[in-house]
Symmetry: C2
Subunit: 243 residues, 2 copies
């Protein structure tokens, strides 16, 4: 595991051993740290030529709004995650991004990607890995919404979030800080806030997990994982692959 303090370097380091060369190139790709207040829209659906960022601190989410006003939250961005890089590559953003807390970001110098990949090709493989892992999470959300009941999909989502946070040094195996409102969580799970409330009460009464005052606590991780068929391997947290 990479001992760097930068959450992105730490995350990529779980896949590719990053030497001084790669770490410096990764730093050089990013601009200065900028603060964005909570509740700001950073990129909107359909926007062209927008910037792409790395989240250094705080939480954001990506979502799509439908013609009838319904909203599907696609993903949650935490420290070490890209924000809008995929949308940048697609030139026109296919989703919107909004901050959920105050967020510190660095802007990616997208015009230097080709040069950087030439100089440090391992970084290109690491970024492909990160994109693959992000897609694996969207796939899990698809499977959840398509085939898991409300309890199983809530549990799956929170176990995944806990594992993602732990990788970048936030929270522990049994609890993590979670500033998500119930309405954002419900829109991610594709259920109503009232239904979510009932699910969370049921999980609390079964002594499985508690989500209260901005913290999620797993009371019985084994039973939780069994309940939803959670398999940590898709998060690919095992030993570094490319040395």
């Amino acid at each position: 595991m990479q001992q760097s303090l930068d959450p992105l370097a730490r995350k990529l380091g779980a896949f590719v051993t990053l030497g001084e060369r790669e770490t410096k190139a990764l730093e050089a790709l990013q601009g200065p740290r900028t603060l964005i207040a909570a509740g700001k829209e950073i990129v909107y659906e359909g926007q062209q030529q927008h910037a792409a960022y790395v989240v250094a601190d705080g939480w954001a989410c990506s979502y799509k709004e439908l013609q009838d006003g319904a909203r599907q939250v696609i993903d949650i961005q935490i420290p070490g995650d890209f924000l809008g890089l995929r949308s940048f590559l697609l030139r026109r953003s296919d989703q919107s991004f909004t901050t959920l807390t105050d967020v510190v970001v660095t802007k990616i110098a997208t015009d230097r990607l080709v040069d950087t990949f030439h100089a440090v090709p391992r970084l290109a493989v690491a970024l492909l890995w990160a994109a693959s892992r992000d897609e694996a999470m969207v796939v899990e959300h698809l499977v959840s919404v398509g085939r898991r009941d409300a309890v199983a999909r809530t549990v799956h989502f929170l176990l995944e979030l806990g594992a993602k946070l732990k990788l970048v040094g936030h929270g522990s195996a049994t609890e993590f800080p979670c500033p998500l409102s119930q309405s954002v969580l419900a829109d991610a799970l594709g259920i109503t806030s009232i239904h979510l409330n009932r699910v969370l009460r049921q999980l609390r009464e079964s002594e499985l997990l508690i989500f209260r005052d901005g913290w999620v606590t797993f009371l019985d991780r084994e039973r939780l994982a069994a309940l939803t068929g959670f398999d940590y391997s898709y998060l690919d947290l095992e030993t570094t692959a490319l040395r």
Copy 2:
């Protein structure tokens, strides 16, 4: 638009202008063409160190099976699509892949990725773009299953498939060959085969689209696109971005 006959080069060429250097590097990354019969499992969920391929001809699909035996089809692979590259990068496949027709594939020399990215960094950007577009499609499936009714999600899926096929030179703006069985299509849409049958009848009777004898015909693309809020821009089929 790239005039090469290779569907992957043609697809990537929609994003990055590929010169002789890039085209040759792309060829060198791929092994000889191999035929795989219809109905074969190519990669299974949980498999480690499996190969990654490019589909040269034919159709395949990726899916996940749940504990209770339910199946969610994640995506359909057609000529020019990667098959298992994302899973390879994640080391342990997070999904299974099976052929739907006889399929011709080429194996990717994944051990040469780093060297190739050093030599032709534009190819790395093109592959990141392709991964981004694939993820955009999974996002659309998530939105469909989470927030669109059965008619809208069926229409959305078939419009997307038509656009993807057209990009690699199969089908036209109004019709395309579609070897998907109703059970695979139903598992992709997260509805039952009986329900799908009813939806397809309704679409036919409304003179919107026909899916019969292995062909999909759009009778009124404008009404179809309006019905489901279909926005071609997420498929990123506009002019080449990186010249």
